[in-house]
Subunit: 556 residues, 2 copies
């Protein structure tokens, strides 16, 4: 069997001008990065053209180690829609470089449902992540420089600075560090750390910004900490926002690449789906809708995490309205939710699938709470049995919703035609009329409670003493009208990663609430959220190589 990289490298890739041509982009407006990638100027976004276009949100059941293949299904669906004559662009997040060297390998779909050039997309791409990293770290340098220089100081209390540096690398040794050692000329010692770049607030900001002015305003709004006399300090107090935004002058522009079947793919931004909104940029989605009739996009992790944020934060902020939500499930993952251990997951077990359905069912209920029509996509693996697949189909029939099996991983667009047809039918027949779950104007507690009870299925919310203090701080800073971006484990609908299926009678504990005033949300933290992964004992990096001709090997 060919690896993802081998499939990607053997693809007949088209010059990016050809892809742009399909979208009606004149060559003079294309900003090529080599022959197969390009940046798209923001002037191609046309609010007039977005009206009436179809936005398809791909989400999934609660992720399991067995995998769901959300990106693969999104890409496959784009191919399938194009195969049935619908002009479609898939709009995705950019993969993070760090995990490429860990366990994960590449993250640009898989099998015959990939975006290419796969190596480029996984390695630096068009430089957006490095630019975000730089903007983030410029603010950090300006903060420590202000603390260092007594004459220009704002009087920042170093102990209140929560702004961390970032690096797109799985580097656990940077999680907790002490900086500023080495005497009076080398800074003021303080505790801090590095997060991975995808976890940077700058990433969240870039992905919510509507234009340069909005970007700059959000940058200025970043909350940095307090002065010794307890006044809040924002990035604008350090006059940081202009230079930070200047660093993003190209990163703000969406990137155009192609699917294996030569259809347009816009890949832009990659915020985490736990501590951030977990989906590509507003500008990328609007670009896709300006340039084609259908846009397939995805939100990270399960529907409770990425999609809830996609809808309550991204859609409310930008005015976007999905016409359908595709919920991806696999038989393997349903068995896992049904109680089967990972090493038995490939054995036929229709009863376990049946047991796992409650997770799927809850996510479908959740989709309907936003007044959006659902479609279930069963991402089929070779060892799935007819009986097992029937179990899922029967549930969908019972619930009165469409489902389709997809085999895009093995067959490309041909394997997603059924799904594409189902999606088009639902778009034509079912009237989605998106409404958000909550009103941003509500109190922070009410917003948290609404999500936790209605989406997660919690009985009640508990706040630690720290979280209660944070609530007061947020009110005193007048930031309580921001939406909430709950950081929660993706592994469970609850805040306990061990509770699979459809947990009930649980309490969600809010440990603390962070402020992302620049991004424009607050982040109630309900568990240990990993912001800087580590490398495994035998890192994937050991296998990655390049030959004499500059061809990459071992990226799987």
């Amino acid at each position: 069997m060919l690896s993802d990289l081998e499939i990607a490298q053997s693809a007949k890739i088209k010059n990016i001008k050809e892809i742009a041509g399909k979208l009606g982009i004149p060559e003079s407006m294309l900003e090529p990065y080599g022959h197969y990638k390009a940046k798209l100027p923001l002037s191609l976004i046309d609010p007039e053209k977005i009206n009436g276009k179809k936005l398809i949100l791909v989400s999934a059941i609660s992720p399991t180690p067995a995998g769901e293949g959300k990106t693969t299904v999104s890409i496959g669906l784009c191919e399938g829609l194009n195969q049935i004559g619908k002009k479609t662009t898939v709009v995705l997040r950019e993969p993070s470089l760090g995990p490429v060297f860990g366990i994960k390998g590449g993250a640009a779909g898989g099998g015959y449902a990939q975006v290419v050039p796969m190596e480029d997309i996984n390695l630096h791409f068009t430089g957006d992540f490095p630019a975000i990293e730089k903007a983030n770290n410029l603010l950090a340098a300006l903060i420590d420089n202000n603390i260092q220089n007594k004459n220009s100081t704002l009087g920042i209390d170093p102990r209140t600075v929560h702004w961390k540096r970032v690096m797109d690398m799985n580097d656990r040794a940077l999680r907790h560090i002490i900086i500023g050692l080495g005497g009076t000329t080398s800074g003021v010692p303080r505790e801090t750390g590095f997060d991975i770049t995808a976890a940077s607030e700058i990433m969240a900001i870039l992905c919510l910004s509507e234009n340069f002015d909005d970007l700059k305003k959000r940058m200025g709004n970043i909350f940095v900490g307090f002065t010794y006399d307890k006044k809040p300090v924002f990035a604008r107090d350090l006059k940081a926002e202009g230079a930070m935004a200047a660093l993003l002058k190209d990163a703000i522009k969406p990137n155009l690449v192609q699917t294996l079947e030569g259809n347009p793919a816009i890949i832009h931004g990659g915020p985490f789906a736990n501590i951030a909104q977990g989906t590509n940029s507003v500008l990328a989605t609007k670009m896709g809708l300006s340039l084609s009739d259908y846009v397939v996009t995805e939100a990270g992790f399960g529907f409770d995490l990425g999609a809830e944020k996609f809808l309550d934060i991204k859609c409310v902020s930008s005015g976007l309205k999905p016409g359908v939500a595709v919920l991806v499930a696999t038989i393997r993952a349903l068995k896992y939710h049904g109680g089967v251990k990972l090493d038995e997951i490939k054995k036929p077990n229709a009863q376990a699938v049946e047991n796992g359905l409650e997770n799927l069912e809850k996510h479908i209920e959740n989709i309907r709470k936003f007044n959006i029509c659902p479609v279930v996509a069963i991402n089929k693996f070779a060892d799935d049995t007819v009986e097992e697949l029937e179990v899922v189909k029967n549930l969908c029939n019972k619930l009165g919703i469409r489902s389709a099996i997809t085999t895009a991983h093995a067959e490309g667009g041909r394997g997603a035609v059924q799904l594409a047809e189902a999606v088009v039918e639902v778009l034509n027949e079912c009237k989605s009329d998106f409404k958000p779950l909550y009103d941003w104007g509500w109190s922070v507690e009410r917003k948290i409670e609404t999500i936790a009870k209605q989406i997660y299925g919690a009985n009640a919310i508990d706040y630690t003493a720290q979280a209660k203090d944070d609530l007061k701080k947020i009110e005193s800073l007048n930031l309580d009208k921001l939406p909430v971006c709950i950081a929660k484990t993706q592994k469970s609908l609850s805040d306990n990663p061990k509770l699979l299926g459809r947990p009930e009678n649980f309490i969600v504990t809010v440990r603390e609430i962070e402020i992302a005033a620049g991004a424009g949300f607050v982040i109630p933290i309900t568990g240990n959220i990993m912001r800087m992964p580590g490398l495994p004992e035998y890192p994937a990096a050991e296998k990655i190589d390049i030959d004499s001709e500059g061809r990459i090997k071992g990226l799987f």
Copy 2:
């Protein structure tokens, strides 16, 4: 008066395809990055075509705060040569992003002798620095991961690891840090720090590599530290070189941009000129020579630093041979060397110029030691007097070498035609036959002594106890046949920054000797070398901005 950025932004910039066309590059071989930048595939380098081409090395007298304008003269000379009908490409280093936010602003020439697009070149450019940063920091993460994981461990003694992380940011608080805090899952605590990216050994490696295989081999040769039982550890022992080289798959390709007058400029790599070789990549220089008849290139700081390394390291390693060395001087800088304080530098003072000439004279002597013909370029400022200029001319006449005044900053290529003519005459009349100063096969001490006595003018060399230990270590690792890349202050020919002019009767003290086995040299350290600058009290970042249309402001 217009700022550099205003001049650059008002230039009529050509599509990069047009510039490539001038060089005979077919469009299919050009890898564009937007409309005004491109990467050039290594297959355009043709050793056959390099023979007989003219390489012009631009260097300078010992730098002073008054400035010399070496890059400006290099660009101006390229314009001037093209004006007199010589097909010329200027090949330069890439500016570092960090200093842009400090005092320095941009670094792509100045006035009417600039390379454009100036904002892009100064901000991220084509992503080479971020890629170098990533390769450097991947090795760091692999080292700490190996120390963390007991099963796969090489037994690295963390106290012997000298490999630092890098970031292209002026961030003094990262100079001395402790990492690996936070308990057993977050690494092993140890002291380390960050250097600025230009100081990374990866930068030096990239700029000396001849191709992908050479790059990978050099990466593998990086010396990391020792095991607890005193065995040396190299990057290859961590299986790091493949992934590190893969990260540089595009960064290894030289970048094509243009001068204000639409002539080709290749900008690639930017190693420091104190702890590294201080000049652009071998591949960029060879690319320039493959594509045009004349190549103007520069080496950092004064002739004693960048140019000595250009010749003894880069030229010996790559087989390049400069036909002429242009030594840039300014009347202001000569006055400074002649004892005038900085605030009096603009006042006419021919006697001070006369007094400062000894610095210029020593650098000319040094050029001749390499069997290369010198030309003196006087970079004229508005307040220079005829009498002052005559002083320099007279010295050059006395020494029997050509000199020319250039006003490229104010007038572009027109202001460098005289210099261009002088350079062409020297190339035609004077027979340079480059020979290196020393043989790599000599002992480390003999190599150091040769440079210090012959080039710096020292009486003797002193080694600290640390340096003596380092010499033993280098011999035991069989690395004593590598060339030496002496880290010394740029401000003086000696190792004491306060000794201006032509210091005599001084002793050079070697404090320690670092190993850069990947780059392929050892680094005798003769002073405090800044590897991570800080921001000033009022950083330039405060003035940098971007407008609604994405246009950069305040980059000066």
